[in-house]
């Protein structure tokens, strides 16, 4: 068995053991009523037409916010990163501002943000924040990841600064940007779910809050599972893009 295969098998095995443990705890009621058996939760939520429709509608809303936020966050993050690259005077300041913005807990920032965009706009904004920082860092570091030999070649070829940016710095940043995208993809999904807690009309986050308040434990469990799966899926989708495109640039 190749090391890669072994890793995959071990990963699946680990996940199965965890699910099995959760199942046993749920079946035996070891953790009380708040811990349903996973199979029971999934079958009862997906088996019910109403709750199934509700889940998929919420998922659609969350995906829409996450996608919009990913696009906005990526564009803004890359633009700010590029600005810092073009104007080195701004670089240190932008780095610090972005880090501070990223370190402040969202809960502390939330009232200010709600006042800014309203509760409906929160999920897109938090998704954009979640993905924007990753893309900013990826852009800022990627544009500086030019190999010294390539830089020497462009210098001795009598190239202009503009040519160096377009023909060398930007392509050199592609692997880093793709790496950032894998983080930004899952970050956008988590950001969107979190943002929905602050009063969005619909979405997985809304469903989490309502099922928690109504003690619909099985629904809550399935919603959380869906959010995690979608986030994982976003990560692997971006990783696949990275693998396809990135090979050419590194």
């Amino acid at each position: 068995m190749s090391p890669r295969k072994k890793k995959i098998v071990l990963g699946i095995l680990g996940a199965l053991i965890l699910i099995l443990a959760a199942e046993i705890i749920g079946r035996l009621g070891l953790a009380g009523k708040a811990w349903p058996a996973p199979t029971d939760a999934i079958s009862s939520v997906l088996g019910n037409k109403l709750s199934r429709a509700l889940l998929f509608r919420s998922l659609g809303a969350t995906l829409a916010s996450a996608g919009t936020g990913l696009v906005i966050g990526s564009v803004v993050g890359m633009a700010v990163g590029f600005l810092g690259f073009l104007l080195p005077v701004l670089r240190a300041g932008l780095d610090q501002t972005a880090s501070i913005l990223n370190t402040i807990p969202l809960v502390a920032l939330a009232p200010l943000l709600i006042a800014l965009v309203g509760p409906q706009g929160m999920s897109v904004l938090t998704a954009a924040l979640g993905s924007g920082f990753a893309m900013f860092v990826a852009t800022a570091s990627g544009l500086l990841a030019v190999s010294p030999a390539h830089a020497d070649f462009f210098k001795v070829s009598g190239s202009s600064r503009l040519q160096q940016v377009i023909r060398l710095s930007l392509p050199s940043a592609v692997p880093s940007l793709l790496g950032g995208l894998t983080l930004a993809g899952s970050g956008a999904v988590l950001g969107a779910v979190l943002g929905e807690w602050f009063g969005a009309p619909m979405g997985l986050g809304v469903l989490m809050i309502s099922s928690m308040q109504n003690f619909q434990v099985k629904l809550l469990f399935v919603v959380a599972l869906t959010a995690a799966l979608v986030s994982l899926l976003a990560f692997y989708a971006m990783a696949a893009i990275q693998k396809m495109v990135g090979r050419r640039f590194s």
């Binding site: 190999s147 030999a149 390539h150 020497d152 070649f153 462009f154 210098k155 001795v156 070829s157 009598g158 190239s159 040519q163 023909r167 060398l168 392509p171 592609v174 050419r248 640039f249 590194s250």
Partner: protein, 254 residues
């Protein structure tokens, strides 16, 4: 100072280290390379031979002394796109094909891409079949040949080779040297080759300058005038071995 070729007049290069310490990489280097000459700079690592090349390419500035290439500052030559450099690390762009890499100097010089010239050069370096391949699909020797084709594409007035075959195995390296000699015989560009390989220097160059380290300085100059052409077989002549032995002993002693 002659207006053609490369001239270094009492060139010195010091690098500043931390705490006001300085390191003298080169001291009192006076050197002339005639137009159309192939000169090899031979020396142990740390003797500043690459620094000389980087100064001629305008990548470093001499601390003292005069340096001119065809009567100009290196930067002027660079700005006129009249310099070709092949680096130890091939420095091909991984996202471009062989053809696109070799065409890049035209684009950087804002000149129309001469596809015929590129085709001929790729033929010359034996990569005609690989024009659409990416660098990662090529062997180390092929990448270096592509890099040399790129350095020659604009018909530069001066060609600088910084251990272009340094990372290759001995067999490939010998093959590359044969090819380089053949290419040079066709192009006849003023060339400076930096190497620590004695046989490579003696095989390719018309003149070998041996450098000593700490501080880097010129130790010996050897004009080579073999009767044989620079092709297969030269390395097996007594005369060749004689020169190689002598220069090797000189390197060992320094």
């Amino acid at each position: 100072m002659s207006a053609s070729g490369i001239s270094l007049d009492r060139v010195e290069k010091t690098f500043s280290l931390e705490k006001n310490n300085t390191f003298t990489a080169l001291k009192d280097v006076t050197l002339n390379v005639a137009q159309g000459e192939f000169l090899a700079l031979l020396g142990p690592s740390g003797c500043g031979k690459s620094t000389i090349l980087r100064m001629v390419a305008g990548l470093e500035q001499p601390t003292a002394g005069e340096l001119a290439v065809n009567g100009l500052e290196p930067q002027e030559l660079v700005n006129g796109h009249r310099l070709g450099v092949a680096f130890q690390d091939h420095a091909l762009l991984p996202w471009l094909t062989v053809f696109q890499n070799v065409a890049l100097p035209y684009q950087l010089a804002k000149r129309p891409v001469d596809e015929t010239r590129i085709g001929e050069l790729l033929e010359l370096v034996g990569l005609a079949r690989f024009r659409d391949a990416f660098p990662r699909q090529l062997s180390g020797g092929m990448r270096q040949r592509a890099s040399i084709a790129r350095s020659l594409v604009l018909k530069p007035e001066v060609l600088l080779l910084d251990e272009p075959f340094g990372a290759l195995d001995a067999v490939t390296r010998r093959k590359m040297n044969l090819e380089l000699a053949r290419i040079w015989a066709e192009e006849r560009t003023t060339t400076v080759l930096v190497t620590h390989d004695v046989e490579e220097a003696v095989f390719l160059a018309q003149r070998v300058v041996v450098l000593a380290a700490n501080p880097g300085r010129i130790r010996h100059e050897e004009v080579l005038s073999f009767d044989t052409a620079r092709t297969e077989g030269l390395e097996r002549t007594d005369e060749f071995h004689h020169v190689v032995d002598r220069l090797t002993r000189m390197l060992d002693a320094s």
